[in-house]
């Protein structure tokens, strides 16, 4: 099943993927165990003439065992998830690379701060749908929406964050492989929801400098 997982090109994606795999192995083993027991019982204890079912109301020891073992596994899983979650969503690393993304029906409006490094100034540069970022660089995104809720989803970066009108959410990623990655909207946002997408272009530092010089530099008057 896990072979369908898209290639991971982010710095934190492998932590998410290893949790995914761990839960997959635990649940797959539980599934096989319960299913095999169920089929075995159905065959072994099928109605046969002359045999009477065991008159038994349960077993407290077994109840305790199959309460505490799942509880222990689930608590451990919770604690293993806490640090990755904190890394992705709570502890946003510092960076000098910041962009604004405003989701609207049915586009991603991407704003670069321009040469002065400030948003809302005259040298801001806007793009529709496409992000251009350097590899191995923390990208901080100020994410908002101007009409309905959208969800900023980059499968290859294991990144997803809803864009909510009325609030700006600070979020981040760091790509570790240059390439072109799809950026669909993952939250139903109206009749144009399907097909609302862009691309995240991850460049080598040299290529990014080239792209920035061509696209972000102040236009000659």
């Amino acid at each position: 099943m896990m072979r369908w997982l898209p290639e991971d090109v982010s710095t934190y994606g492998h932590e998410i993927d290893s949790l995914f795999y761990l839960i997959y192995y635990i649940t797959a083993a539980t599934f096989v165990l319960v299913t095999v027991l169920m089929i075995w019982f159905l065959i072994k204890y099928r109605a046969q003439p002359g045999r009477r079912a065991v008159y038994n109301h349960g077993n407290t020891t077994l109840e305790i065992i199959w309460t505490t073992i799942p509880a222990a596994i689930l608590i451990v899983l919770s604690f293993m998830s806490v640090s990755t979650w904190a890394k992705v969503k709570r502890n946003i690393p510092a960076s000098d690379f910041e962009i604004q993304v405003t989701a609207k029906q049915f586009n991603w409006e991407v704003v670069y701060p321009g040469a002065d490094g400030k948003f809302g100034s005259e040298d801001d540069v806007k793009f529709d749908n496409d992000l251009h970022v350097p590899v191995n660089k923390v990208v901080r995104i100020h994410l908002t929406a101007s009409d309905v809720i959208h969800s900023f989803f980059i499968p290859n970066l294991r990144f997803k964050q809803d864009a909510v009108p009325g609030r700006t959410i600070l979020t981040w990623f760091e790509a570790n492989k240059p390439g072109k990655y799809e950026l669909p909207c993952a939250e139903l946002c109206g009749f144009g929801h399907s097909g609302m997408k862009g691309w995240v272009n991850v460049y080598t530092p040299e290529d990014y400098q080239k792209w920035a010089a061509e696209n972000l530099a102040p236009k000659p008057q």
């Binding site: 989803f153 609030r167 929801h193």
Partner: protein, 586 residues
């Protein structure tokens, strides 16, 4: 509906009441249960057809659906040979209405309305519900809400298209979806439907607390009754929250308020908090009765007491309590404070424990049994199998980091169909099991087995590969997956799923045929065809008005199968075999 019910409900009574008072405005809980059943089955067909249309579009996007060309533009665009192409707006309406109908107008009316009404009085040894008129009103208010919901298909702009979760702000302003009256009617229908469920819930609780037969202590109640009791409490507490949220949404749309609109100072996430504060208990409202029915059937057809009766009861109570503190797991990537996400992950992991306890106790019930693979037993086992998959797949989403990736993908679609659509197995199990008491005839077991095998195979064919799509990142609620480069390698699975879904839908013909054939021409049923212990089987077939010849006295719990006390392998709850039995029973 009334013709089919009319055709055979008629044997039940000596004095012939008028058609209207007997079939339409009946005060008898058994007739009200049948009314809920026929309406629920009708809505199941409508909800199923909507799902087929959704599946067609996902497998063969923007190709004409055969026979759909009769619907006019702009809802459907004409194709060759009378076919019709589904546009995006209609697609959004289709999945919105599919979910709304299946949850509120199929699973709730049948699992809670039909089984609750039919079984609670019969299983606790009561003559009827505590408030028969309220019961009748509950059905008719529910029916009105169904009519309002269906009428939204015929208003300009079409029905609601903002998803069954109706997230604000999309649902809060007509301009965002292009749906004006369809969404209004959706809100109004759900509010009216909530009133119906509330009346039912009050009735169930009152009946169970006050009208149990002598000797029927709480811990002698069948788990079906326990599950319906807990469900009724959840309904009573959850529905007002939904109603309040819906009222606020309606005000935002019609009266210019801004509860959920940021431009007026409102908060879009408030809708999600309120909706899921209702919505998560709602999931257990749907699944608890299925668990109760499954428990009863597994015990009956294993000819063995339920394994861990108290563990089963307390795990349902634990699920009910915990269901109030897990709603935030729907909102991990919503923008809610991530620290809250951590807290909700913990509670969500905890709620998996009582669910696991239930599965292990079902296994324990099978162990050492003398298992009869009747049609109801097969469907009950099918429920366990699906619930196992649905329960385990839930653990992925509970882990906040993993949820970042699979949230709003087909992984969650697979998960909730294994849990909620999996309830259909318990629903069929219940219909096949209680049909002889409900309609006084037996259903055909061979047709039932064919129905089970096809349903089980193609249910899994339809829903299991959705996990693969989800792992691949396939978003839910998208109109055309071929618009995305990264989804192209997965498209064959969409075709596979659609074929499975179409065959799954077609397989239900075996059920409908069996159901209606048995209704009119099935073999006359005896009083206790399954040799079961619970009180409904001690009532005559057909059960008269008032249900029992004399008020039953209960001597023991419902699961005394293969007891050494008697030669037979069953021992009805109301059978007096001497004082020792009464003293020993728990």
């Amino acid at each position: 509906m009334s013709e089919s019910a009319a055709a055979h409900g008629a044997h039940g009574h000596h004095a012939k009441p008028s058609f209207v008072s007997h079939y339409l405005f009946s005060l008898d809980h058994k007739m009200i249960a049948r009314q809920f059943l026929f309406v629920g089955l009708l809505m199941l067909m409508i909800g199923g057809i909507l799902a087929m249309l959704v599946r067609w579009q996902l497998a063969w996007p923007e190709t004409p659906v055969p026979g759909l060309g009769f619907i006019s533009e702009p809802y459907i665009y004409p194709g060759p040979n009378g076919g019709g192409i589904i546009p995006p707006q209609t697609y959004n309406a289709l999945f919105t209405m599919h979910a709304t109908i299946m949850i509120f107008f199929v699973v709730m009316p049948i699992m809670v309305g039909t089984f609750g009404n039919f079984l609670i009085p019969l299983m606790i040894g009561a003559g009827d519900m505590a408030f028969p008129k309220l019961n009748m009103l509950s059905f008719w208010v529910g029916a009105v809400s169904g009519v309002i919901m269906l009428s939204s298909f015929f208003v300009p702009g079409g029905p609601a298209a903002g998803g069954w979760t109706g997230y604000a702000t999309l649902s809060a302003k007509a301009q965002y979806t292009g749906v004006e009256w369809g969404q209004h009617l959706w809100i109004i229908a759900l509010m009216v439907n909530g009133v119906s469920s509330l009346m039912g819930a009050i009735n169930y609780i009152t009946t169970i607390v006050n009208m149990r037969a002598p000797g029927m202590g709480y811990f002698r109640m069948p788990l079906t009754v326990w599950s319906l009791f807990i469900t009724a409490v959840l309904l009573l507490l959850a529905l007002p929250v939904l109603t309040a949220a819906l009222a606020m949404l309606l005000f935002d749309r019609m009266a210019g308020t801004s509860f959920f609109l940021p431009e007026g100072g409102g908060e879009p996430l408030l809708w999600q908090h309120m909706f899921w504060f209702f919505g998560h208990p709602e999931v257990y409202i749907l699944v608890l009765p299925a668990m109760g029915i499954t428990s009863d059937l597994l015990s009956t057809f294993s000819r063995k007491p339920i394994f861990g009766y108290h563990a089963m009861t307390f795990s349902m109570i634990a699920i009910a309590f915990l269901s109030w503190v897990v709603w935030g797991h729907h909102m991990f990537v919503s923008g809610m404070n991530p620290l809250l996400g951590t807290a909700f992950m913990m509670t969500t992991m905890v709620i998996a424990v009582p669910s696991a306890i239930k599965v292990f106790n079902w296994l324990g019930t099978l162990w050492g049994g003398s298992i009869r693979l009747t049609v109801p037993m097969l469907f009950a086992l099918g429920f366990v199998s699906n619930f196992l998959i649905g329960g385990l797949s839930g653990i992925f989403m509970a882990s906040t980091p993993v949820d970042i990736f699979i949230h709003d993908t087909y992984y969650i679609v697979a998960h909730f169909h294994y849990v909620v659509a999996g309830i259909i197995f318990a629903l069929f199990a219940g219909i096949y099991y209680w049909f002889p008491k409900m309609f006084y005839r037996e259903m055909n077991q061979t047709l039932g087995k064919i129905h089970f095998v096809l349903t089980y195979i193609f249910f899994n064919g339809a829903f299991f590969p959705m996990h693969f799509l989800g792992v691949g990142g396939h978003m839910r609620r998208i109109y055309n997956p071929t618009q995305y480069e990264f989804l192209k390698p997965l498209q064959d699975w969409n075709v596979f799923i659609t074929w499975s879904a179409l065959i799954l839908g077609a397989s239900q013909i075996f059920f409908l045929w069996n159901f209606f054939q048995s209704l009119f021409a099935g073999k006359k049923a005896e009083r206790n065809p399954w040799q079961a212990n619970t009180l409904e089987w001690s009532a005559p077939t057909p059960p008269p008005h008032g249900n029992f010849e004399t008020v039953p006295t209960v001597y023991r719990g419902p699961y005394e199968y293969s007891s050494p006390e008697v030669k037979e392998d069953w021992l009805p709850q109301d059978k007096n075999v001497g004082t020792s039995a009464a003293a020993r029973a728990h």
